[in-house]
Symmetry: C2
Subunit: 362 residues, 2 copies
């Protein structure tokens, strides 16, 4: 049974975990709180891969935790990785009760190990807790980077009133939300058209520190990309920008190697960018998750190929329809095989609406 105080302490573990979002990859963010008689003895979160887990940090702060309850956003691990198993740490500390936010789909009876030793175990299975490990769970199952697609459109489905101009159709609050997303995902990606037209920096502003370097990615087709774009300017805290290019266009892209980390994708003859191969390549480089911010053509292609896992869809309170207006998706035909979304979040950001949801494969 989850009491009201259980609920409050569990929610606190999610807040703690949220401190580490963006830093822990390839591990998930996790938070933990140790409580006895209603008093918090210790709190902790997992700071970065290779460092102590959240439970261990919380126990260290608690000191004597015998008879206490451990609240933890994710099922404690039971294996020896770069750190000892947390289940053993909990048993050694004399924890009497464990309240878990979400199960770890890679776990194998971790909680039974605790139950066998007389620890009371409660699993909340909270959506908020599952959200924290969504990308981590995904990466257990697929051999590619998780892709979140963030688009901003008018209420009638356009990103701008005419091609070639950049317009801020969403407001300030929405842009701050996008800033948080850029911090949370391992990398930010746009198509070459966006770099040519909008010349974005793809940085986090106001600036912040992240334990992992920020990574910017440009997905290209055969057309060359000017090396003087702002996305290629070196910045402290940022990795060299990755350019994904078809392997068959090596001659076109070799001049870019001076300013970017050009990754040639697919067969040596490939004239088009093999998107599944590109996402596998990113995963091999320890980029577990990517926030794609358009443009419409890259977005349309990713969706058509079933490569988008989550949508963040900002809707601005304007109507832009004209023959010159640019629709939010392009470059692919989804008709007939319409993609189904499951909306799971709906928020207001100032004047805008943000809808989020997961996309299912066809």
């Amino acid at each position: 049974m989850i009491s009201a105080s259980d609920r409050a302490f569990l929610d606190r573990t999610y807040d703690l975990a949220a401190h580490a979002i963006g830093n822990t990859s390839p591990n998930p963010p996790v938070g933990a709180v140790v409580v006895r008689d209603g008093h918090v003895l210790g709190e902790g979160f997992h700071h970065r891969a290779g460092g102590p887990h959240a439970e261990v940090n919380a126990l260290a702060q608690a000191g004597d935790a015998s008879g206490a309850t451990m609240y933890v956003s994710l099922e404690p691990c039971d294996h020896v990785g770069r750190t000892p198993p947390c289940t053993r740490a909990l048993l050694d500390a004399g924890i009497a009760r464990v309240v878990v936010g979400a199960l770890d789909r890679s776990g194998h009876g971790n909680l039974d190990r605790l139950r066998e030793r007389g620890v009371e175990v409660v699993v909340a299975d909270d959506a908020a807790a599952r959200d924290l490990i969504e990308i981590f769970s995904f990466s257990l199952e697929r051999d590619r980077a998780y892709v979140a697609l963030k688009m901003a459109m008018s209420l009638d489905g356009y990103v701008t009133s005419r091609s070639g101009v950049q317009e801020w159709i969403t407001g300030e609050e929405g842009r701050l939300y996008v800033r948080d997303l850029r911090i949370a995902y391992d990398a930010v990606m746009v198509g070459a058209g966006t770099v040519r037209i909008d010349d974005p920096q793809l940085t986090v502003r106001p600036a912040t520190h992240r334990l992992r370097e920020f990574v910017r990615i440009v997905a290209c087709e055969r057309e060359p990309l000017p090396p003087d774009r702002r996305v290629f300017l070196p910045l402290p805290g940022y990795a060299r920008t990755i350019v994904l290019a078809p392997a068959g266009a090596r001659a076109t892209f070799s001049p870019l190697e001076r300013v970017a980390d050009v990754a040639y994708v697919g067969e040596e003859s490939a004239q088009a960018l093999d998107l599944p191969a590109a996402l596998r390549l990113l995963r091999e480089r320890d980029i577990q998750s990517v926030l794609c911010e358009g443009g419409p053509t890259l977005a349309g292609r990713l969706i058509a190929q079933g490569l988008v896992d989550r949508l963040y869809w900002a809707i601005a309170p304007v109507l832009l329809r004209s023959d010159a207006a640019v629709p939010v998706l392009a470059g692919a035909d989804l008709g007939g095989a319409a993609r189904a979304v499951r909306f799971d979040r709906m928020e207001r950001f100032g004047r805008d609406v943000m809808i989020s949801g997961t996309l299912s494969d066809v």
Copy 2:
């Protein structure tokens, strides 16, 4: 000061008023509750134009109301219309305190009349109360029917994956919401293309009774409309369907007069439908509010001419982009003079999202 119990009784007046939505035009729906010492003595709402006002119904049920508080969703009237002024009824009944949900913009010191006689008056100015009189307030200021536009689109802005097919892209819960809207607005309107292609009945299903007849309207351009469409079938509780046609196309539309109430709009030479004139004509026929349900061309024209006052925008969790997909708006160029919306409601209906907002003139 509004106490928690004031809040509860005031909210009750809105529920009571909601019973009458769709029946009271050209009057607004109003609800009233009489309370003394925390006990409800009487409740009432305004049933239909010409009938007693909400306050009078509530007082009739209360019997002796001396010293009681009157909660009423709208500022009481102070004029002799088809019924005596409510302010006098309140004073005669010995009401000691009046709590009002919203002010009546056509009122002239009604509440002062009460204050002068020692009645305590509190104005909550609630959004819910203002919503109840939105159309009524509008009609005080403009000489045309209020237009709410209801569209349903995919997340990427399309109403259907190809022209000429009717698809239910929104779910059952959303359709029940539209049913409520059809009851609430004086009339339902679609463009001729929708009648040609989808052949809708535009009825309220499951059926319900409304004190006012239901009214269906088809807005036409010069192209003829087949008289065998389902919208022209006579139904109990429904007025003869109104066809709005350009006056210059009289010869084309006269055959329709057999099955419909054809209203010729504009100058005798008019070859295109004059939409402002059409909405003035509807108002002259005591149709104070219209729910337009598309199609994209009529919707685009209404928006481009600044004739849409509220949007109900259903967003289905699908992506439909293809070259054949039909965008949610057509027939007009909004680019450059993009229309600004103010979102004020955001709801989930099953799998769908419904965003509502008001549209400001350019």
